[in-house]
């Protein structure tokens, strides 16, 4: 069995999560260039993002003006310092013109302060704007969740949607915040300092720019070479995540099968690959800062030497050197910032692409034009030649389903896994839309009324007892308005959980947290109480008791029988014993009804149902 190859590099089972890029602290990631993902359509995504930010455009423009204004004011600094220096050097013999120096200095103080104010306003505006955009994005994603068809969630993992709401939106918020302001001020500084240098002295400019360019060519070479190490690092991190997740969550099996050695071997393999790529990527990103400093120093030396020569020739004054020493800094600094902005714009685009892809998913059809409304229904439900298959596959799940339920009947749907039982319920609730045929409630096709209206007609209890973090009362009342405490108590008494709730320290106000001490049965009783409060004319029970043991089921069964009184009910069950008293049993297999009738009739018929039923009790012979 040595054919276990360690193909973790190609393991694409789950997209690798970016390491430690959680929300919070935009902090000093500083020189860590690279590692960001790339968007497939950089331009298109940015266009979408800008269109999305449209309401904020005027304020963004103000921020941009502030950013460039602040940068321009910064540029005045060195030139003024040059003048001070000249005053000083000129005054070696005759004494310095102190009032003039003071005047310049005071002007400079004002300039610096205004530059500071402008940058502050820019930062403030951008911080505010990006947070508002992030908030809107999150809200839009959240609303989008409820406008997508249920079938969308069959093919997408929750984690994927969740990471768009938090990680991706956070990335957009953070990078947008830093990148736009920096982009504008860095570009202004870069161009401005170039112009200022040129107007001050061309030869000196040549020296300064030349030195910087040499440095930057060097940096670009390193950066382009390092890209592959960053993506390898991401891949290895993903592989490590995957392996650790697999081994930790299968801990009991790994241990009992003595799989530790094998797991450790694979772990070591990934770990040393990770160590190697971590070293390389960490080293390369660690190089950025020293190189930047070197470029600064190199420019500095070039300026000093050239300047000194020129001063001795009498071409320039010493103040020019002083000014250039500062200009070189103002010139190189934005260059590295621009490099950072480039990567951060990339990650913004990559994150936005995912968010916009989600926002662009096809929604359920708009129904605002529908005027028919069903209220006070009798509860007659008819399926007529229903046919259904998921839109993204050619397989027909339901072929030709026809059935009729009379008001007040208890209808059971049984059949092996994959027969299409839950699909039928989803079609009845219009969670999915049928492809042909029709479903009629009291003779009205459900396609003619709104989904909301359909939902109002049914109480629904599902296998997964869905409770949220909140008090028991909140969980029972849920979104229904105007429910009195007495009604809640009545419902709980009916499902037999009132006494238990009373034993809890805070009674109905006990908060149900993640690891609440409720048993599966108690949770189910609460969801049944919720359905009772809803008090809709029909009822759907989709494997409502599968997750509880049979003794608890007996208790719940009583509650459910209570709920079924007078309601047309559809019951999907795994355990055949629970549906023996149904008025009609539909036996489904491969998307069609193969048999129907009462329990007794079906047993006598000796068909599929009888086989299914008897398989529970056969003896080993």
């Amino acid at each position: 069995m040595s054919k276990n190859e360690y193909e973790f590099e190609e393991n694409k089972s789950s997209p690798p999560t970016p390491p430690g890029r959680g929300p919070g602290m935009g902090g000093p990631g500083g020189m860590a260039v690279g590692g960001g993902e790339k968007a497939k359509d950089f331009k298109g995504t940015w266009k979408k993002l800008i269109a999305y930010c449209k309401p904020f455009l005027p304020i963004i423009i103000i921020a941009i003006i502030c950013a460039s204004g602040g940068a321009i004011l910064t540029l005045v600094g060195p030139n003024t310092l040059k003048r001070i220096t000249n005053f000083i050097t000129d005054g070696f013999m005759s004494g310095i013109d102190l009032p003039a120096v003071t005047k310049i200095c005071v002007t400079l103080v004002i300039i610096y302060l205004s530059s500071w104010l402008l940058s502050l306003s820019q930062g403030y505006i951008m911080a505010t704007m990006t947070q508002k955009v992030s908030k809107k994005l999150r809200s839009d994603v959240s609303e989008k969740i409820n406008r997508l068809p249920v079938s969308y969630y069959n093919r997408t993992s929750y984690g994927d949607v969740l990471s768009r709401v938090t990680n991706d939106v956070d990335t957009i918020g953070q990078t947008l915040n830093q990148s736009i302001g920096t982009l504008v001020s860095a570009a202004t500084l870069f161009l401005g300092s170039l112009i200022m240098m040129l107007t001050t002295n061309a030869i000196m400019t040549l020296a300064a720019v030349g030195a910087t360019v040499i440095g930057f060519v060097l940096m670009m070479v390193i950066m382009s070479k390092s890209q592959k190490y960053f993506s390898r690092q991401q891949k290895n991190l993903g592989a490590m995540n995957g392996h650790v997740e697999e081994i930790y969550s299968g801990h009991n099996v790994v241990k009992l099968y003595n799989g530790e050695k094998d797991a450790k071997k694979r772990f070591n393999h990934i770990n040393s690959a990770l160590c190697d790529s971590a070293f390389k990527s960490q080293f390369l990103s660690g190089l950025m800062m020293p190189i930047m400093i070197f470029i600064g120093n190199f420019g500095y030396v070039a300026v000093c030497v050239t300047g000194a020569v020129l001063v001795m020739n009498g071409t320039i004054s010493f103040g020019v050197i002083v000014a250039f020493m500062l200009y070189v800094r103002l010139f190189t600094q934005p260059l590295s910032q621009l490099a950072q902005v480039a990567t951060s714009l990339q990650s913004t685009a990559a994150a936005s692409e995912r968010v916009f892809a989600f926002l662009g998913e096809t929604e359920m059809a708009d129904e605002s034009h529908k005027t028919t409304k069903l209220e006070d229904v009798k509860g007659e439900v008819e399926f007529r030649n229903v046919r259904f298959g998921y839109e993204d596959s050619d397989v027909t799940v339901i072929h030709d389903f026809s059935a009729r339920a009379m008001p007040g009947q208890k209808i059971a749907i049984v059949g092996p896994t994959g027969a299409g039982k839950t699909t039928m319920v989803n079609l009845l609730m219009r969670f999915n839309e049928i492809q042909s045929g029709g479903i009629f409630i009291d003779g009205v096709p459900t396609s003619e009324i709104t989904r909301e209206n359909v939902h109002d007609l049914f109480c629904m209890v599902l296998q997964d007892t869905w409770l949220f973090e909140g008090t028991i009362k909140e969980n029972i009342v849920y979104c229904k308005e105007g429910v009195s405490d007495a009604e809640v108590v009545k419902a709980c008494k009916a499902v037999g959980i009132h006494h238990f709730i009373k034993t809890l320290p805070q009674g109905y106000d006990t908060v149900l947290a993640d690891e609440s001490s409720l048993s599966a049965g108690q949770k189910q009783q609460i969801t049944i109480a919720r359905a009772m409060i809803k008090n809709a004319p029909m009822l759907i029970l989709d494997e409502a008791t599968s997750s509880v043991d049979t003794r608890t089921e007996l208790l719940i069964q009583k509650a459910m029988d209570k709920l079924m009184e007078g309601r047309t009910s559809f019951v999907i069950a795994h355990r055949l014993s629970t549906i023996k008293n149904a008025d009609v049993i539909f036996v489904m297999r491969d998307g069609d009804i193969v048999e129907s009738g009462s329990h007794q009739e079906l047993l006598e018929k000796g068909g599929f149902y009888a086989e299914l039923y008897n398989s529970q009790f056969e003896k080993i012979s």
């Binding site: 969740i145 120093n297 049965g521």
Partner: protein
């Protein structure tokens, strides 16, 4: 932010450093040498600047003199670059190999954990601790080595260089540093707690979204979309408000830093003008060059303080990560190895519980109380009872997922605690409630691990797949035995995963099967066929079965009925139907009277 809590952060960071290997410590020392060299060269640079300034001002020198000085400057700059590249290399090497070591320590530790420790941390948290947290520490160490050590050295050295050159300038620099510290403290005091709060609020937002997603059908059925959206809006607004506050505070930082820098340069020149004006003729040039140099040093000092402040901003996050890692590494496993590898002859496949009681540590109530029974070779013993009756706990005591609180569990006549874990585990074919599927192939999943009897043959694998009623669906997988299985088995159905997981147990040819509610995911028909095949092909193997369905266990040689942790009945189905009221109740709830007869 109080200094005390900062100190606490540092202690946590230092605590994790004790796991540094000797080689890594040595590398830290080496990089220290190069850092000093780098600082020396960085600070040497302005000295040459002084020379050049003097040369230019005195005027009667050759250009070659200036070029010589320029050459030295360049050499310094280049030397500094080389030194810092070496430091970067060392830092990256230390950080990556240190984190590799930590990762391994942690992995080994988790592998040694019993269910008790795993549950106390939660699997999700252990995964984060082994991945993200370590990456955090790695990044911090790489950055820290480059900045944390260099910054104070630079600051102190630069200060000594400029100390004697004019108290007025020194005061200006001190004021700049002071303002810097104030700005940073404001940011840290107000923003960092918010950032921590934001972490919690993000979790909250995640929770609300997750609720909506997991309950999507309920939400729709109740027309509760608006209700959920309002809830989300609440969480969203709270998060946004905190984010707004924190980010606005943070936005003060950069502009203020550059204001401080510019302000300081200006102050030095402004002061300089007055100093030079009042100085004697001869001192003027010296003072002037001093001023130019001073500014450069002062910038270095302020820059070092900025770097240190960056570390302080990174520190809380990294130290939380460090603390979480150390927590795992320093947890002592509760299940320790015994010495025996062999068992008593003639007792293979025998399991005995002798007055076993169990409670979770710190819990008041016993989960199991005084349980005794024996299973002989080839027998099937089933456990039934309602949720919370302790049947899964009982079965977990056999392979030592937990150890008994009182009493003992014997396998093949030997207390399970006396075996080495490897020898003990080799006796079992274990199938958990939730099937565990590894990424790989069908074959690698079935022929998983090691049973101490050498490698599995393809025939073994095929046989066990047949017994587990999986041949038909494995045939349909492209590649058959070599067919790819995704992580978590996402390309298989629940029943298929469970059957593969049963095939894995069969393939081991164990003395004892442990089925922890493993048949519930199967439909009745498959359940029946599978049990028949097992009975037929592996009749020598003792089986322990936890089940919910009476149908699954009706034919068991012995059924143990549990109620609130106590045994309320042991016997065959027929015996229990007569004598045990709890069993009767369970049975009646599933089958009608006639069917049971």
């Amino acid at each position: 932010m109080p200094i005390k809590s900062k100190g606490r952060f540092f202690i946590k960071m230092i605590k994790i450093l004790k796991y540094m290997k000797k080689k890594e410590r040595l590398l830290v020392l080496c990089s220290l040498v190069f850092i000093v060299a780098q600082v020396f060269l960085d600070l040497k640079l302005p000295d040459y600047m002084t020379e050049i300034t003097k040369l230019v001002q005195t005027g009667d020198n050759k250009i070659s003199d200036i070029l010589t000085q320029g050459g030295w400057m360049l050499l310094c700059a280049f030397g500094s670059l080389v030194a810092s590249i070496i430091v970067a290399g060392f830092a990256a090497r230390i950080a990556s190999s240190f984190s590799m070591g930590l990762r391994e320590l942690q992995f080994d530790k988790v592998e040694a954990f019993s269910m008790q420790e795993i549950n106390s941390f939660s699997t999700a948290s252990l995964i984060t601790r082994s991945t993200n947290d370590i990456t955090q520490v790695q990044m911090f160490i790489a950055m820290g080595l480059q900045l944390l050590i260099k910054a104070p050295i630079t600051a102190v050295w630069a200060v000594t260089k400029i100390a004697g050159k004019g108290w007025q300038w020194t005061t200006a620099t001190a004021v700049a540093v002071l303002v810097l510290i104030i700005v940073i403290s404001i940011v840290i005091t107000f923003a960092i707690p918010k950032f921590r709060k934001i972490q919690g609020l993000t979790d909250n937002l995640n929770r609300v979204t997750r609720e909506n997603l997991t309950g999507i059908r309920v939400v729709r059925a109740y027309n509760a979309e608006k209700y959920q959206e309002n809830k989300f809006e609440g969480a969203n607004s709270e998060l946004t408000n905190n984010n707004l506050f924190a980010n606005r505070i943070m936005s003060i930082m950069m502009p203020s830093m550059s204001l401080i820098m510019s302000g300081m340069s200006l102050a030095i020149y402004w002061i300089g003008a007055y100093l030079i004006d009042s100085a004697g003729m001869m001192d003027k040039i010296t003072l002037f060059s001093n001023m130019v140099v001073f500014m450069n040093y002062a910038v270095q000092v302020v820059m070092s303080f900025m770097m240190v402040s960056m570390i302080f901003i990174m520190l809380p996050r990294a130290s939380v990560a460090a603390k979480r890692i150390v927590e795992v590494i320093e947890t002592k496993p509760t299940i320790l190895d015994g010495k025996k590898t062999t068992s008593v002859d003639g007792l293979e496949g025998e399991i005995e519980f002798r007055n076993v009681s169990f409670k979770y540590p710190d819990a008041a109530e016993y989960v199991l109380e005084d349980v005794s029974f024996t299973a002989h070779r080839g027998e099937t013993v089933a456990f039934i009872g309602s949720t919370g009756s302790g049947k899964s706990t009982l079965i977990n005591l056999v392979p030592r997922f937990y150890d008994t609180t009182e009493g003992e569990v014997l396998i093949d006549g030997v207390n399970v605690r006396d075996y080495t874990q490897e020898a003990l585990h080799n006796k079992f074919g274990y199938v958990p409630q939730r099937a565990v599927i590894f990424s790989g192939t069908v074959e690698s999943n079935v022929a998983y691990g090691d049973n101490g009897k050498g490698a599995y043959t393809t025939e073994d694998v095929e046989n066990s797949i047949a017994i587990a009623q999986s041949s038909d669906f494995v045939e349909n997988i492209p590649g058959k035995l070599e067919g790819k299985v995704a992580q978590g088995g996402t390309n298989l159905s629940g029943g298929q995963k469970q059957r593969l997981s049963i095939a894995r147990a069969v393939c081991r040819k164990p003395e004892i099967y442990i089925f922890d509610d493993s048949f519930s995911a199967l439909d009745y028909k498959t359940d029946k066929l599978l049990r028949h095949a097992l009975k037929e092909k592996t009749s020598d193997t003792t089986s322990l079965i936890v089940a919910q369905r009476i149908g699954t266990i009706k034919e068991a040689d012995k059924i143990v009925v549990l109620e609130e942790g106590r045994v309320v009945g042991i016997g065959t189905h027929e015996e229990l139907m007569k004598s045990c009221s709890v069993y009767q109740e369970i049975a009646l709830s599933q089958l009608s009277k006639e069917e049971l007869a």
